[in-house]
Subunit: 377 residues, 2 copies
């Protein structure tokens, strides 16, 4: 009897209530039943996004919604500032380049967060910048960027602030309307506790105005078409019906918990994880760590990929390794979505075994006790 556990920053485990909702018979998407399901799900998403704006539901993974943000917010020749501090910041740049935009990269060393003052300087010196592309929680490095400060700066300029909130939404506070964020993009397989296959996008009034003016080619990801159709509780293209049914159930679980409790839970689990790994003598990678995922440096002489592989093959636990140039150098333990204190302790216990198996000196229980002390508070 071997159990498999997901402690990866997406996909995350799906609660049984959500699995059951997705296993219900598929209803047709042009019926009053689907419209009622879609209407309630859209209302719940507005609650999660903390916005009065429509939250579009797309049949795509998060990258699709990112591309949608680019093609609906920008026009040919636009100059855009892209904060590149990890794989997902780089993805913004790749998409913008694929559409021929002029990308001004703001390079942030991996593991560090952007200094919002730098963005202010760049925007002041280049007032033609049409949009700033940012990552709230950079999954590849485990860094949480200070989105509130960033938004306060960008909203004083004509530039739009476009944010990948794929691993921050439902993890940390992100009051889109109150902070004045222009585009927020999310996906299903993170704190929303669903399988991958749905992505989300919400736009501010000025982002919708930009979408009306935008002249990049777009069809499947045309947010204007989606907005018009979703206002009637339909989707422009056939929606991923079973995932939408699961989404309604997942949002119901989140609403029962409440936003403050959700944010406190993620913070507590992440702090326990950090305490556990540092008590084992390991070093955190992120200077400003995200509660979604804890990135840890692989100790000298031990390959980070071997840690990931051993956890998976011997202990049945999926965590994440380093991506791109970080491969082998870090490993990442997630605490987002359907996770509780015993998931954290399971992860730390298995990490202790794994490190010992790979020849790293470990006193069993040191990490666990440190994590427990955080969790007991």
């Amino acid at each position: 009897m071997k159990k498999f556990r997901l402690l990866a920053p997406g996909p995350t485990p799906v609660p049984p209530e959500v699995l059951l909702a997705m296993a219900e018979p598929v209803i047709h998407h042009r019926t009053p039943e689907f419209e009622a399901l879609f209407a309630e799900t859209r209302r719940r998403l507005q609650w999660l996004f903390q916005t009065d704006q429509d939250v579009l539901i797309l049949a795509a993974s998060g990258t699709g919604a990112m591309e949608g943000a680019v093609v609906n917010a920008c026009s040919p020749g636009d100059r855009v500032l892209v904060i590149r501090g990890g794989k997902f910041g780089e993805r913004w740049a790749e998409i913008c380049q694929a559409y021929g935009l002029t990308v001004i990269p703001l390079e942030i060393p991996y593991g560090q967060a952007v200094d919002p003052a730098d963005v202010a300087v760049l925007l002041r010196h280049d007032p033609r910048i049409a949009a700033v592309f940012a990552t709230h929680s950079e999954t590849s490095t485990g860094v949480l960027h200070d989105l509130e400060a960033l938004a306060a700066i960008v909203k004083q300029t004509p530039a739009l602030l476009v944010v990948d909130a794929i691993t921050s939404l439902g993890v940390v506070d992100l009051p889109m309307d109150a902070w004045g964020v222009d585009v927020v993009v999310g996906a299903s397989q993170k704190a929303l506790m669903l399988p991958p296959g749905l992505a989300f996008a919400a736009l501010s009034e000025r982002a919708w105005a930009a979408a009306e003016r935008a002249r990049l080619p777009r069809y499947y990801l045309n947010f204007l078409t989606e907005r018009r159709t979703q206002a009637k509780n339909q989707a422009a293209w056939t929606p991923a019906i079973s995932l939408v049914a699961g989404l309604k159930a997942a949002l119901g679980l989140l609403q029962a918990e409440g936003l403050p409790a959700i944010f406190a839970r993620h913070e507590r689990l992440a702090r326990a994880t950090r305490a556990g790994v540092t008590a084992l003598g390991l070093t955190l990678f992120a200077e400003q760590p995200s509660p979604a995922v804890t990135a840890v440096k692989a100790p000298d002489g031990i390959d980070g990929e071997a840690i990931v592989r051993t956890l998976r093959d011997r202990h049945g636990i999926s965590i994440a390794g380093g991506q791109g140039s970080m491969a082998g150098k870090i490993f990442r333990i997630a605490t987002l979505g359907y996770a509780d204190p015993y998931d954290v302790l399971t992860g730390i216990a298995a990490l202790e075994f794994t490190l010992a198996e790979l020849g790293y000196p470990v006193r069993l229980g040191d990490g666990l006790r440190a994590a427990q002390e955080v969790l007991q508070k």
Copy 2:
């Protein structure tokens, strides 16, 4: 106790075996387990597409794969011939226009099929045409186009043949390699018996060569990136894991049945449906009807939408009405996917009740007997 039934041309009912596969715990997509799942699923798709080429699996609905076909097969300034004989042929034109291609429309009256000889003439007179966009089974009109004849003509020219096979794949024979079709696009919620959310695309050697040369902007739907990644049994972006698990199960059911039996089943159910409705004095809309869906003219004085609404609200059966300019004039009963003779008889029986309720003269049982006589053979 009221049961709900789907007799619509997508989404179609999902078999219990497939619902169970999708309700299994989500596995991480960067694991050997997922790679094994993806590898087997890809092999099974090659069997369904009757091709030695890779069949790409995308997290999108069918329209996303259609857009992917356009942006990977074409380049700015390309002249393309689009066969427009219904809503989905028109969608090809809309996508091509969104990307600034020069569309040469071949208008086919609704309910009729394209004459392949007309395509031959147009290609001969305009040798610069880079691609022909066609619909195999035009869901909006219930017409099956003669794809084999079309392919025989197009393959003698430099133009690519790009086919929306969304409601024909797994319904009628479509030996992609043998016929020389260049791009075949499919989706999950039709004969594949899955919820919506997955789309598929397979490309011939010359279509892959065009994709290498193509210069339209593309990122999420970049087939080159997907092909390179899927060759390693991974997906470029996070795949819709639970739907992929369901897809493997659905393809397993189809393989157990076998392609000849699948095609014969659809033909038999559609013939029984046609016999049932014509025995009630109704007229078929399509001159060359598709086995996927039977389009029927609403009788004089009766609104087609009232038929759809009554079937749904009083009898719990979802069929489809007419789309666009066809609204109210036709209704459409599907026989594709997870359907058997008793589903056809249920649909005809409910149609008899519905027509009587709406004041159309019906002798109960006439349609049923006619359908039974086809099914008994």
